[in-house]
């Protein structure tokens, strides 16, 4: 497979959030600002990238029946590493993302990729796939975070550009759903146009 | 408080223009085309051939099997064609076309005007006579009447109900019949009571026909077991289930027949036909037909021979108005729109309603606003809005669970819907789908 295609598919065509509708909890939960979205996206990317590598390395050694538990252990290890490292060096961001960091482990994207892609492909391809999907995920989260931040607080990456408050609802839970709903519609339209 | 049925119903404007017009005999047309199937059930095979000479009242097709009815020639003349003619839907059905000559009746038929009250026939004989005369329900469903008179084993009839409701707007044929043939009607009722072995009969008449109520009540004074019950005006009170509910408070179970609640319902026209068949040996070859409409010059009630083309009736009522948009055989709520004026009158034709263009165009359909009106007016307790959607989406099994087969096709739902939704159109389609499903299941 063309590696560039393999890498880039995660952004629009097979975007985990906009197209596959996976990993929605963190998508909605942490995107009240663009920064949070980006942070979460990158953390997920790291886990996705690493676990794809490891899974594709050990895939032939794993008996079929314990496939899933093994993958989970691998993923959970990387998540814990992220968790501990973030706690140590980025305590503020860690506090903001809260519960959703340990929950990376159950992000369907990661297990899905491990199961559907890494366990069937070679190291390089899997690594690139992991990176692409991860960055695509990060892109989606940042985009959603940006939209919500702009509408909700009138700022972007913490830089305020209007006086006063924005439309509060968008940084509250209902706004997350609404913003994502309409973003998916727009993304669909874009996808339709490009293909 | 006048009696009526409990649930649902609508009040369309009554428009009984022809209520005061006495029944006139319609002059014979040049040809009649008598369809061989004028009832539910299989069409019988013709007994005549091309160029045969037939007399008025002569049997031209014998009903084979139990649920079938015989067909008699309504005129004297020569059989010119044994071909298919269009029915009300434009589909071609087998028919006998006769060129009308001098009106000569079969000799055994008693054509004298006198009333014959006495009879000594047994119930069985009465039913046999009814069958021979080819009588079918004249209330619209054209179900062979002898079948309804033969109470199935294990069931018992307690009550005969005579349906003089005529709840359809515009139509007045039953109304006129009750006024003009009241005595004959009562004899007919007696005959049916005897056939059914019941002691009691109720004649249900809506309150908008006070003259008929008064007239028949007067006649009933001397009649044991027969009484007239005035009813509040509400469509579709004429539906037998609603009528039974109104008169007896009994509910025919879902999927059941009136006999399940020990009643049998017959139309007044049917009762009159029974009188003529039994007492005068006259088969069912003519009936009262109302010709009416907002622009009709001379709204009338005609006594019409079966097989007469609709165009002939319209001519007699003053001709087709210029603004005609739609011609309906039957009433406006349940009647069938015709696409040709050559369609013949059959045993079930109760009226011809001519609607001007302005009244015949359906209004544009809007989305359902879920106003519940269709539910409130459905006399069967159904949810028409839901049934329509299910029918559109071909969710046949769900439709069956929602009792679509209970729908009596009264049209109240379509009538009331503020969004002009073609509810009944789709429900009919749904019923057909469910029927198919049930049949395929039986296989």
């Amino acid at each position: 497979m063309n590696q560039w295609k393999n890498f880039s598919k995660g952004f629009i065509r097979e975007n985990a959030v906009f197209v596959l509708f996976l990993g929605l909890c963190p998508t909605l939960g942490v995107t009240s600002t663009a920064i949070n979205g980006l942070g979460m996206g990158l953390a997920t990317t790291f886990v996705l990238f690493m676990s794809n590598i490891v899974v594709s390395l050990i895939k032939s050694l794993i008996p079929n029946k314990v496939r899933i538990p093994t993958y989970i252990v691998v993923i959970a290890s990387f998540v814990t590493i992220v968790e501990l490292t973030m706690q140590a060096y980025l305590p503020t961001l860690f506090e903001q993302l809260g519960l959703f960091i340990p929950l990376i482990v159950v992000n369907c994207v990661i297990l899905g990729r491990a199961e559907a892609f890494a366990s069937k492909n070679n190291l390089l391809t899997s690594a690139i796939d992991g990176l692409g999907m991860g960055l695509g995920f990060a892109f989606a989260l940042t985009l959603l975070g940006a939209v919500r931040e702009i509408l909700g607080s009138g700022s972007l990456f913490g830089l305020k550009f209007i006086a006063g408050d924005g439309i509060l609802l968008f940084i509250l839970p209902p706004g997350a759903f609404l913003a994502l709903g309409y973003l998916i519609v727009i993304m669909n339209k874009i996808k339709e146009k490009t293909t | 408080m006048l009696k009526t049925f409990a649930k649902g119903g609508v009040h369309p404007p009554e428009n009984k223009l022809s209520a005061s017009r006495p029944i006139e005999s319609l002059p014979l047309p040049q040809t009649v085309s008598i369809p061989l199937s004028q009832h539910i059930g299989a069409p019988p095979a013709p007994l005549v051939q091309k160029n045969d000479q037939v007399k008025t009242g002569q049997l031209i097709a014998r009903g084979e099997g139990f649920v079938s009815a015989s067909i008699h020639s309504s005129v004297t003349g020569k059989v010119v064609k044994l071909e298919e003619v269009m029915d009300a839907g434009g589909y071609r059905r087998p028919a006998v076309t006769i060129q009308v000559g001098e009106d000569e009746w079969m000799p055994e038929i008693d054509t004298s005007p006198g009333l014959i009250k006495e009879f000594d026939l047994s119930g069985k004989d009465i039913i046999e006579k009814v069958k021979e005369a080819g009588i079918v329900g004249m209330g619209g469903a054209t179900f062979p009447s002898h079948v309804k008179m033969s109470v199935p084993r294990g069931k018992k009839a307690e009550l005969l109900i005579i349906n003089g409701v005529e709840c359809e707007p515009w139509l007045t044929s039953d109304h006129r019949l009750m006024l003009e043939k009241g005595e004959e009607l009562l004899v007919g009722i007696r005959l049916i009571m005897k056939a059914l072995q019941v002691e009691k009969a109720l004649i249900g008449i809506e309150n908008n026909k006070p003259d008929a109520i008064e007239h028949l009540s007067g006649l009933c004074l001397g009649e044991k077991g027969i009484s007239v019950v005035p009813l509040k005006v509400k469509y579709p009170q004429g539906g037998e289930k609603q009528l039974i509910k109104a008169l007896t408070a009994r509910e025919v179970p879902s999927g059941g027949l009136p006999i399940d609640v020990a009643t049998v319902v017959h139309n007044v026209g049917t009762a009159f036909a029974v009188y003529e068949a039994v007492q005068k040996k006259k088969p069912l070859i003519e009936r009262v037909v109302t010709v009416t409409g907002p622009s009709v010059k001379k709204p009338c009630n005609f006594l019409v021979r079966t097989g007469t083309p609709v165009s002939h009736l319209i001519e007699a009522a003053g001709g087709l108005p210029d603004d005609t948009g739609k011609i309906v055989s039957g009433g406006p709520m349940m009647g069938k729109a015709l696409n040709s004026l050559q369609v013949p009158v059959t045993k079930g034709t109760s009226g011809i309603l001519i609607l001007p263009e302005s009244m015949s165009v359906r209004k544009p359909v809007l989305p359902c606003i879920r106003c519940s009106r269709c539910i409130f007016v459905c006399p069967m307790g159904l949810e028409p809005y839901l049934l329509m959607t299910l029918s559109e989406k071909k969710m046949t099994e769900k439709m069956e669970k929602e009792h679509v087969m209970d729908c009596i096709e009264c049209g109240s739902c379509s009538y009331i819907c503020p969004s002009n939704r073609p509810l009944l159109d789709y429900i009919r389609l749904g019923k057909a789908q469910v029927n198919q499903l049930i049949r395929s299941r039986k296989k």
Partner: protein
């Protein structure tokens, strides 16, 4: 014959009701409430209502025309109803751009996203109103005092609504009876002489509209009666149990949005149940949730949320509460 006959299934006649007729009936019934709110709040009432109606109609037209690409149906009047009702639950001095934003959300999100008239599961006007309420709590809780045409459009004198006074007081561990002294009498509440949103203040005018709609058979009275009844009974029980911390039931009926909500918003055909049984369940649900929020929640008023929450239950109610089928019981009995 030269002209072709029309053919269709029966019935061949149709009743007089039509969607526009019903909608304009609702609008007509809202006139008394509108007149009173103009009397109480002056120019602002007119401006807010006009903005709301115009933007609802405009957005509906634009969305249908340019986004959904279907023939616009604005003349069915439903957007006008939404506009009027949205305006009626806003303060009369609210900035007009907020009204337009609310209309955009009501029509765009609440109605058109679902396909327009008849498809939306939630009441559009309430969607717009709650959106504004949550997004702009400051503006949405600044209730002008009823001073007629003396009410200023900006920086008008404001005050808490009667329900707000009670809620504040209870949060401050005050008791209800003394608080009632700050609140107009029940009779005044009935005429609508109090702070509040434009349309909700005058119980009298709303009841008049209710009677009109019931007489004209625009709505069956089931839903409003059950809601008002439930609120009355539930608050009555609380009041009898503890009059120190609960206002009396009549007070609850006459204040806040209960009347407006029960008569106009819970009765929206599209978002309410289809059967009488279902309507009762729906009404009781709204009543109970309203009182729960008023009494125990953070917001002084709960009808808007209660109606939206019960809107979500409507599909389930519809599938669980069927009309009584003719001949059904006999079959099983």
């Amino acid at each position: 014959m030269d002209k072709l006959l029309r053919v269709s299934y029966s019935p061949h006649i149709h009743g007089e009701n039509s969607v526009p007729r019903l909608m304009w009936g609702v609008i007509a019934s809202l006139v008394p409430a509108f007149v009173l709110s103009v009397l109480y709040f002056g120019l602002g009432a007119i401006l807010v209502t006009a903005t709301s109606v115009l933007s609802c109609v405009l957005f509906e037209y634009l969305i249908q025309r340019f986004i959904m690409k279907v023939p616009p149906t604005v003349n069915d009047g439903s957007a006008v109803v939404t506009g009027v009702l949205l305006a009626f639950c806003l303060p009369a001095t609210i900035p007009l751009w907020l009204v337009a934003l609310g209309a955009l959300v009501a029509i765009g999100v609440g109605k058109m996203s679902f396909g327009g008239l008849g498809s939306n599961p939630f009441n559009p006007a309430l969607v717009g109103r709650v959106f504004l309420f949550i997004s702009f709590p400051v503006q949405l809780t600044s209730w002008p005092l009823p001073m007629g045409f003396k009410t200023k459009l900006v920086d008008a004198a404001t005050g808490a609504t009667p329900l707000g006074v009670i809620k504040e007081g209870l949060l401050n561990n005050q008791q209800v009876p003394p608080l009632m002294d700050d609140i107009p009498s029940h009779m005044q509440l009935f005429y609508g002489n109090m702070n509040g949103s434009m349309g909700e203040v005058a119980a009298m005018a709303l009841l008049l509209g209710f009677i009109y709609m019931v007489v004209k058979k625009i709505i069956p009275p089931v839903i409003p009666l059950t809601i008002l009844g439930t609120v009355f009974v539930f608050t009555g029980i609380l009041w009898l149990a503890n009059p120190e911390s609960n206002a009396d039931p009549l007070f609850h009926l006459l204040t806040g949005g209960v009347m407006l909500g029960a008569i106009y918003m819970a009765t929206d055909y599209v978002t309410s149940p289809m059967t009488k049984k279902g309507m009762v369940v729906f009404g009781v649900g709204i009543g109970v949730i309203t009182v729960l929020i008023r009494r125990f929640g953070s917001y002084p008023e709960g009808v808007q949320f209660a109606i939206l929450i019960m809107n979500a239950f409507v599909p389930l109610i519809n599938s669980w509460f069927k009309p009584k089928r003719f001949g059904e019981e006999v079959q099983h009995g």
